[in-house]
Amino acid sequence: MAISSSIWVWIAAFLTLAVFSFLYKDNIIYKMVEALFVGVSAGYSIVIILKHSFVPNIWKPLFVSHNLLYLIPFLLGLLFFAMLSRKTAYLTHIPFAFLIGSGAGFALPLVFQTNVMAQVKGTMLFAPSHYPSLGAFINALIIFIGVLTVLFYFFFSRGEKTNRGIIVKTGIAFIMIGFGASFGYTVMARLSLLVGRLYFLFGTWLGILH
């Protein structure tokens, strides 16, 4: 493998190194690349949304197929631009009302079912014979104790000076373990991004890695 001859790879390598320069200290090149990233992301999103959302969902049905039903969502969408002036900003209440109303109607029963009912059901503890193995029963027992003690911590601990009982302390231990697991996963995620960039710099760009 040889050093890349693609101008785009060189630009990507420069941008990567510019971002990494922040690790030494904040600098103007890092700030420039940060601004470039925000601009490019916004521009890309606008083009994709126009091409894949506005054109097929509004432009074609309304202005090509002349389906006048689409005039309603089109006008509702236009009302969002009313927020650009203080005098007309109140008009945005109309599309927001539609969005919130339909969103809540769609979401409420299913979100409640998914995040509350099914989770409560999954936390219920049954006799050991109900589980496929002893390990599964122990897991279910840990989840049961974890959920109860964490709920106790949130509902029955009042301020720093409260004399915390064993249940609340167990709840805190479960929360800490949860935070620890999340932190561990976060470290892993960030490091994998670093490894990806290193592979790009030493492999795709410099051609040292195969």
């Binding site: 994709i48 959302s53 769609f106 998914t114 279910a140 996963y185 991004l193 490894v195 030493f202």
Partner: protein, 290 residues
């Protein structure tokens, strides 16, 4: 001579050490055979047991910043499906996912061309329907009729002219939804596809998100979870074993396992720094007491 204080090491030394630690396994290949976790094995087994001709829906909901974690997952799911004769419908619910889906597909096609054993044909084994905004609405409307949501594929070909879509109308014709994501789209798939239409859902997410989805395994709302590079390397290992046992060749392209090796060394260094930091903290505390 200034006294060395372990808790006040310049952070730049830490960065350099981790950088070197992550680089070392890239130059001196060290591969660790991963221990396969039950949640990854569950996804693998589910796809492995699907009869040839089944259809899975793969949602590419990740961005370029998370490619090292998510791209190997998407590629390995596709490879596994194609080896088993399972067809894949690709869609994207995030703007960035659309281009990355095609990149992952072309990587898989190239790899299979190198093996020379099976040929992947667009329109017969794989179709990419593109990006649609309005996540929840898209997921719900696929449950009614996928043609209404995606009348054409990403190239503009009418969905009725694509052979693998002839008998696919909605979730009833889809055996599994796999969401590879670096955002919270799995919540929507679980809420709107599983809870509403009871289609099995598997999730592959970045490590940052992985902890959020373990509660859904316990309740059976997702069949399994591929979390971060670790999960991706486990799945890659299983797929590579299948390639080896089916075709007798050892895959050379192992992005997730390669990343996992570098990650293991870098993480060991971080654990070491955490231990050193704590030693420094407690010794400082002890000195203050004295």
């Amino acid at each position: 001579m200034a006294k060395f204080d372990i808790s006040n090491i310049d952070r730049r030394w830490i960065y350099i050490t981790i950088l070197l630690g992550a680089l070392l396994p890239l130059f001196v290949p060290i591969t660790f055979a991963p221990k396969i976790s039950p949640e990854v094995k569950a996804v693998y087994d589910y796809i492995d047991k699907l009869p040839p001709g089944s259809v899975i829906l793969l949602s590419f909901d990740y961005g370029p910043s998370t490619l090292p974690e998510t791209e190997p997952m998407a590629e390995d799911i596709m490879k596994h499906a194609f080896i088993n004769g399972v067809r894949v419908i690709g869609i994207s619910l995030t703007e960035e996912g659309a281009l990355l889906a095609l990149k992952a597909y072309s990587n898989v096609v190239k790899e299979f061309e190198n093996y020379g054993t099976i040929r992947v044909n667009y329109g017969y084994d794989f179709v990419f329907l593109g990006y649609k905004s309005g996540r929840q609405a898209v997921i719900l409307s696929i449950g009614e009729d996928i043609r209404k949501t995606f009348p054409t594929d990403y190239q503009g070909t009418n969905i009725d002219d694509i052979p693998m879509m002839f008998n696919v109308k909605n979730y009833k014709d889809i055996s599994l939804v796999v969401d590879i994501s670096s955002t919270n789209t799995p919540n929507d798939w679980i809420t709107y596809a599983y809870s509403r239409y009871k289609v099995p859902v598997a999730v592959g997410v970045t490590a940052v998100l992985a902890a959020n989805y373990y509660p859904f395994i316990q309740t059976g709302q997702i069949i399994g979870l591929i979390g971060g590079v670790k999960g991706a390397s486990e799945y890659e290992y299983l797929v590579n074993q299948k390639i080896q046992s089916n075709w007798g060749m050892k895959p050379k392209r192992i992005p997730a396992m390669r990343n996992m090796s570098a990650l293991t060394v870098a993480e060991l260094l971080i654990v070491l720094f955490i231990i050193l930091g704590n030693i420094g903290y407690f010794s400082q505390k002890g000195n203050k007491r004295r």
